[in-house]
Subunit: 221 residues, 4 copies
């Protein structure tokens, strides 16, 4: 009898582990996150780090679509995020809201960015999922403040920092992390090639930096 | 007994009239609709026309906010429209989606305009309200096709016409109506002053034209 | 003695023909003209037509640079045009002045377009060269007026038509010619592929149409 | 004999002073310089400082026109500057080249900004006038790098600094001076009201700061 119980416990634990206790983490964002699920991408790297550390109770899911802005997330969040009952949603958005002002005249006004961002937070909260906010990293890696949209991207990052504080949510400040890294490692003031391939999308080091920062925040929840 | 019945009937009718049978029409849009509820505005004019014609069973409500684009309607439609249980929603939006491309770099991409517009339609349909679509009228009244954003506004109007057809919804083609009116009445190729005060917002004649077209469509439902 | 004179005359004439009497025509413009000197390009086609017709006394020179707007022409006209002592300058510019408003926020204001255009005309006139003006053809070939920048391109074409009239200069109205051609030959309302490869740059038929129109205007001088 | 000489000298000196030796300084720029000649403006302040210091041999002339970009200066420099035979030209331009990208889609590309700027320098040099370059100060006074166009304005300032070095010309680095001043005096991170009235145009303190910096540079020639 005792033996049976001893044997049964691990089975129960395993079942619980695989079926009930897995922490579902959805990364919700734009093309950076869409690429994040590819080999070498930041989502894949987080998954690998978790496995190496023996933390098998996570399910990491990418929900990134190229060109997305905050209001696109709001439009598709029911289908792509909430319907999947996530435990954690990592919000990583904002580059296109700024970038598209210059490239196609279809960026997002700052006040509306804040309004939609809050609405996205509200909907995730209502589903009792935890939320991690991220600032958009860079549009250009030059360190002397001369990337065309540095000012605007800093402004939108401030909006997100403010929302993290107001909503008492953890923040992964990628903009700060990227600028700090570049200040140390981009002495030649290059506009790409340090953490990005093309001023915006992540190279291997950039993906790893994002993965490290997010994985810390996920574990700290 | 008969007398009592004769007396009772009007009371019953009056009750039904005020409490159950009023058709609630919400005009959902931007600054043009926001101004529409002012004296002389198109919503007020529809209300007056209905009363003059003895059609008292309508409740006309303006839900316009300056600067709104299609995605702003989507964000606030629960609070400002659906929660009020409308019988009819008149959708009159699109000018800012085009205009803000040139004025602040924050217009709406055509494909996203279509996507959000369809999402707004879907939500209204799900509440069993009737829907009337409108094309955005003008950004500039010149008749020789040389208003800066004529091409884009025509494109977005085509998107709305397509959505009306696809969703089998009545369409008030204000863009066509305004162009037809200007072709007849704007021989001097002025950019404002015929139906608008400032190339976009309606003067008295513009408000009356919109009121006439919408009132026809509302009665035809 | 007589024989020598008879023999000398043709030689003199030939010398005059090759050295003094050749009509130097410079096509001054943007990437469309830059491509115009390639095989199949409109400048090459004009050259071929002239030769076939036995009109050997022309020297056709392309002076197009990609991305140029009216003020770029003004900046480089001394070096690239006036220093070559042209007899005729064909001005074919305007697409980028409009296009770059939407693509990079660096278009040209209409009033400054007119001002620089007049300044370019004045400088060519001061060198006693003849001038032919051209309207910019298309940014998109759709025939229902729904190409995004149709309105603005029509406005800038009107400015050029006005300058042609005011300065009493011949006009090759390419915008009109392209729209007329598309109205007849683009029943499917395609945005490219009729006279352009990519909504702006000319395919073989487009190059031939431009060549035909310009060659007529050059001969009519 | 001696007396006559003693008497004659001052007359000669006075004549030289008023007719021949006056240093003609032209301030060449946009609306900031246009306002600079008004009471309290930076040109008027330089004039006053010179007089107070007894330096009467200067003639300060404003040549600013609202909305001007570098290519507008190039277009009108013959009429408004060179024809007046200046001894010194102070070039103060660049705000609109950046600003109009966001406000009307008609800014100036960086490479063309550099090209026209060099062309303006060349033309002034050819007239043997001395040149002082200035960086554009601010579009927004926030000190945390979040003014929308901070990045771009810094980039265009770098272009001007590079041109000063390449052409061995004195530089008044107004962008640096304004940022330094704000870092000390704008602890509340306001976007206006420290040195500007409206994020761009100068208040009294801003006009005095510009006057001080320029007056130093003029005297150092």
């Amino acid at each position: 009898m005792k033996k049976i119980i001893l044997f049964a416990l691990p089975i129960f634990m395993l079942m619980a582990f695989t079926r009930q206790d897995k922490v579902k983490v959805i990364f919700f964002g734009d093309s950076i996150t869409q690429a994040g699920v590819n080999p070498g991408g930041y989502v894949k790297r987080i998954d690998s780090m978790a496995r190496v550390q023996g933390k098998m109770n996570y399910d990491f899911i990418g929900a990134g679509i190229g060109g997305n802005k905050i209001y696109d997330l709001y439009l598709r969040m029911e289908d792509d995020v909430l319907s999947k009952n996530p435990n954690v949603v990592v919000l990583y958005i904002g580059v296109n809201d700024v970038w598209h002002k210059a490239s196609s005249g279809t960026g997002t006004d700052a006040d509306k960015f804040a309004k939609f961002y809050q609405a996205v937070i509200n909907k995730i909260k209502a589903k009792n999922a935890k939320i991690i906010l991220c600032t958009p990293a860079v549009i250009g890696e030059k360190t002397d403040g001369s990337n065309q949209q540095d000012g605007d991207l800093t402004e939108y990052s401030k909006i997100i920092r403010g929302l993290a504080q107001k909503n008492e949510l953890p923040l992964v400040d990628l903009r700060k992390a990227f600028i700090d890294y570049n200040n140390k490692n981009n002495k030649e003031n290059k506009d790409r090639g340090i953490l990005t391939t093309d001023r915006v999308h992540l190279n291997a080091i950039g993906n790893q930096l994002v993965a490290d920062e997010m994985w810390k925040a996920i574990q700290a929840l």
